[in-house]
C-alpha cells in the first residue's frame, strides 16, 4: 500500500519510522546501496551453479541446493528493472526467509556485493519521496541517510512475494 504509506502525516509517520528502526544488511546493486532487515536474512553465500527452471520469468534464475533444500534464486537487478550485469567474484546470494502463501519460505537473491550491517535509528529513516506511478514504490520501506550517503530500504517480503511472481508467470505464459 504505497499510497497510504506516502500520504501518512506527522505522528503516524513517526510511529512507522519507529517500527522501521533496527539492523539492516546493506548491499550494492549497480551504483546504489540497498538495505534489508537483518532479521530476514538467513545466510550469505558466494555465487554457485544455478539450475534454470524452464518457462519462468527472466528474473527467476532457477534453484540451488542449500544443504539438501531446493531454494529458488531471484536476480534482484532484473526484478527491480535494472540493467543486467556480468557476475563478478563479489556477486553473492543473500538467502532470506520471507512470508509465502503457506508459511515462511527460503529464497535467494543475487546482489552485486554485500557491504555491512547498519544499525539505523528512527531519525535516520525517512519516507520514500513520491516518484510517480512507474517506480516500484511498493517494494520500498523508506530511505536512510548515513554519513551523507542514501541507502534504499527494501521490503523484502514484498519484493519476493510469491503471489507477485505467480502473476508474472501468468503474464509470461
Amino acid at each position: 500500500m504505497p499510497s497510504t504509506l506516502l500520504s501518512m502525516t506527522g505522528t503516524a509517520a513517526a510511529a512507522q519510522a519507529d517500527a522501521r528502526a533496527g539492523k539492516y544488511l546493506t548491499f550494492q546493486l549497480a551504483h546504489e546501496e540497498f538495505g534489508i532487515c537483518v532479521l530476514k536474512v538467513r545466510e550469505i553465500m558466494g555465487l554457485q551453479e544455478i539450475t534454470a527452471v524452464p518457462r519462468t520469468p527472466v528474473h527467476i534464475k532457477g534453484v540451488i541446493n542449500l544443504r539438501g533444500k531446493v531454494v529458488p534464486v531471484i536476480d534482484l537487478r532484473l526484478k527491480l528493472g535494472m540493467a543486467t550485469a556480468e557476475y563478478t567474484p563479489r556477486t553473492c546470494i543473500i538467502v532470506t526467509q520471507v512470508q509465502g502463501e503457506s508459511g515462511p519460505v527460503l529464497m535467494g537473491t543475487i546482489v552485486d556485493g554485500v557491504s555491512e550491517v547498519l544499525n539505523l535509528t528512527a531519525a535516520e529513516i525517512e519516507d520514500t519521496p513520491d516518484f510517480g506511478e512507474e517506480v516500484a514504490g511498493q517494494y520500498l520501506l523508506g530511505m536512510a541517510k548515513v554519513k551523507g550517503k542514501v541507502k534504499i530500504l527494501l521490503d523484502i517480503d514484498r519484493v519476493l512475494s510469491t503471489q507477485d511472481l505467480h502473476n508474472l508467470n501468468a503474464i509470461v505464459h
Partner: protein, 666 residues
Amino acid sequence: MSHSSELRWQIEELALRLVVGDSENGMSPGEWIPALQRIRDCALGEQSAQVAAAANAIVERLQAPGDPPADARGVSIALQEGITCLQQAVEFEKSPCGATDLLPAQDPELLSDFVLESREHLAAIEAQVLTIERDPRDAEALNSVFRGFHTIKGLAGFLEIWEVQKLSHEVETILDGARNSRLTITPRAIDVILQGADYLRRWLAHLESSLQKLPSEEPPRDESLLLRIRSLSSTPSDSAPASCELAGLAAAIETPAAPVTPARPATAAQANRRNEAMAVKVDTAKLDYLVDMAGEMVIAESLVRHDSELGALKSPKLQRKIAQLTRITAELQKTAMAMRLVPIGPLFRRMARLVRDLSRQFGKRVEMETQGDDIELDRTIVEELADPLMHMVRNSLDHGIEAPQERAARGKPPAARLLLKAQHQAGQVVIEIGDDGRGLDRDRIQSKAIESGMIASGEGLTDAEVHNLIFLPGFSTAGEVTNVSGRGVGMDVVRRHIEKLRGRIEIRSTPGHGSTFLLKLPLTLAIIDGLVVGVGQERYIVPLFAVREMFRPTRETIWTVQQRGEMALVRGGLLPVLRLYRRFCVAPRSEDPLQSVLVVVEVGGQRFCLLVDELIGKQEVVIKTLGELFQNVAGVAGGAILGDGRVGLILDVDRLYKEKTDDPAR
C-alpha cells in the same frame, strides 16, 4: 466442562461418600437429602428428566413416613440402590446430548490421538476376531480383542464420547463372558462384534472430519445393534446350549477349510504387542529434515572421497578410513529412508474382513492366505493402496471365483483360494492378488471391447493385450450390475491409482485356473530411480518407471508427418517426438535429431519419445518439492540433488504428454 459432567461429578461424589462414609453416624437421611435435592435441581435445569426423577425417588424414599428406614443399614441400602439408579440415568441421558457439545470442549490433539490409536486397535480387533471365528477357543485372540475394546472404552470415557464408550462397554461384556466361559462365541456373536467395530469406525470417521472442520453427521445410535449385543450378553444361561450347538455346527463346517495353528498366531500377537510398545511417534517434518541431512552427508562424503588432493596422498590407511565413512553414510541414509516405512500386514488383514463379508454375500467359500506381511512400504503408499486392493479383491470374489457347485463340477476344492502376497523384487515391492477361479475370459473381454467400440477386432492381439483392455475407462464385463462391482468404474481407476503411486499393474491369467494381478510398486515415494539426461547445459531427470527404451535415431526412423509433427518409428509403430529443448527453450548441443537420443516414455498407456542431447546415467534421487514459486511450471514435477550437489529437475512426463497433444506444433 459441560453441565452434564458437573452432574456426573456430583453423583460420583455422592457415591464416594456412601462408600467412604462412616456407617454409624453418617446414615441419617437428613445428611443426604440436601445433596440429592441439589442433584435433582441441577438435573431439572438441564432437562434431564430421568436423573431428576431418580433423585426425587431417593428423596421420597428417605422421607417416606410409612416406611422409615430407621436404621443406618436401611438408609444405606436405599442410598445404594438410588445412586445406582442415578448413575444409570445420567449415563443414559447424557450420552446423546453429551456428544453434541463434545468437540469444542475437547483438546483436538488428544482427540486425534484417540482416533489414531482406536483405528489401530480396531484393525487388530478385526484380525483377531477372524482368528476367533476359525477357532473359538483361541484364548489369546479373545483376550486381545477384549483388551482392544477395553482400551477404546477407557479412552472414549476419558474424552467423554459416550456413544463410543457405551458400545465398547456392551461388546466388552460379551467378550468378558466368553473369557470366563459364561458364553460361547457364536457366528452371531462374531457378526455383532464386527458390526460393533464398524459402528466405532463410523464414529472415528465422524470425529476425524470434525477435527478437520469438515461437515459431518454424528452416526445415529444403532439401537438394534445394542439390543442384539445385549441379548447375547444378558441371557447366557438360556442361549448357551443353543449357541454351543451353533458353534459346533459352525466349527464342523469351518474346520476343514481352516487349519488350526494356535501356536503361531499367539506368538505373532505377542510380537505385535512388543512392536507397539517399542514404537515412537515422530513429526514427519523432523523425518524429512533427517532425510535431507543424510542425503547431504552422502554428497559431502562423495566429494571428499573423490577429492584429487586426498587421492594424491595414496595412503592405504586413509583409503580404509574413507571406505568406512562411505559405508556408514550409506547405512545412515538407508536407515533414514526406512523410517517412513510401515509393514503391509495390517492392510492385508483389512482385506480378510472384506473377504469374509463378501464371501457370505456371494455365497462363495473363500480361504484367504497372506504372505510377506512384514514387507515394508512407504506409509503413504500403504494408505493409498487400500482402495485399489479392495477393488481387486472384490473383483476376484465377484468375477473370478466360482460358486461352490461350479467349482465342484470342475473338480476344484469347494473353498477357493485367495492369495495376497508381498515380496521384494529388484528394488521394488511386488504385491500379488491371486485366485484359483475361472481366470479372465478372453472371448468375453474381446467381444465386450468390440461392442463398446474400443477395438475393431481381436485379431492379432496377444492374450496380454486383450487382458489389458480391462484397464480402459468404462470397461465392464459383468452381466449385471451388483453393488460391489460391474459399474465399469473399476480397473481403470485401479490403474490410475497405481500409476499415481509410480507403480505398474500386470495380469497373469490362465483360463480355468485363476488369475493373478501383480502390482509393482516403489518402496517409497520419497525416492525414485531416475534417468539423468542432458539437454544443452541443463540436466533433467526422467523417472525410470516411465522409460521403456532409448535409442539413437537414424534417418530411416525419424519422420515428419504432415500436420502431426515429428514421429519416430519404434518397433513398427509411429510415436510422436517431443524435442525437450524446444519445450524448455534451452539451447541444444545439436538440432540434428541424428546427433541426439530418443527416450521412449510411457504414461497412462500412451507412448511418446523425448528428444535429448545425451544420456548421462541412472541415479536414485530423493524427490524435493520446488516450492510454491514453481508450482505451476508445466512439465517439471520437482527437483532432486544430483551426485555433484547441484539441483536437477525431475520431468513430469504426464504433463509433457498432455501439452504435446494440446499443441502438436511443439
